[in-house]
Symmetry: C2
Subunit: 71 residues, 2 copies
């Protein structure tokens, strides 16, 4: 069974940005798939077990972007 | 002695775009230096001998961008 979590990333402007975020988030242990939508900034993370949001935040920041503040 | 030519590239939105253009244009035979300004799109090419504009155009397009139409 897989867990799916969705985040919103701000600051991505092009396909290279998408690739950078995908690469960093995809490198988190347990992550099986990362889907990034450039237009909306929506990042969907599929993993075998729940991934700590702090790890996702760190990966996004490592790529050079930021998570949108949660409402 | 070096030749310097300046072009305007449209479509670059971030540092990754700058890096892609620099890499492709820098790979043209004879090119010694490429300076790219993201904000203006200005690309300055320094080479040992004049570089054919068609080669610069092709390199920019290979990177996924376009030369601005000349006035």
């Amino acid at each position: 069974m897989s867990e799916t979590s969705t985040y919103t990333v701000v600051g991505m402007t092009c396909g290279h940005c998408v690739a950078s975020v995908s690469e960093e988030v995809g490198a988190i242990a347990g992550v099986e798939n990362v889907d990034v939508d450039l237009a909306s900034g929506r990042v969907t993370v599929t993993s075998g077990s729940p991934v700590d949001e702090a790890q996702v935040k760190a990966a996004v920041e490592e790529a050079g972007y930021a998570l949108a503040p949660t409402a």
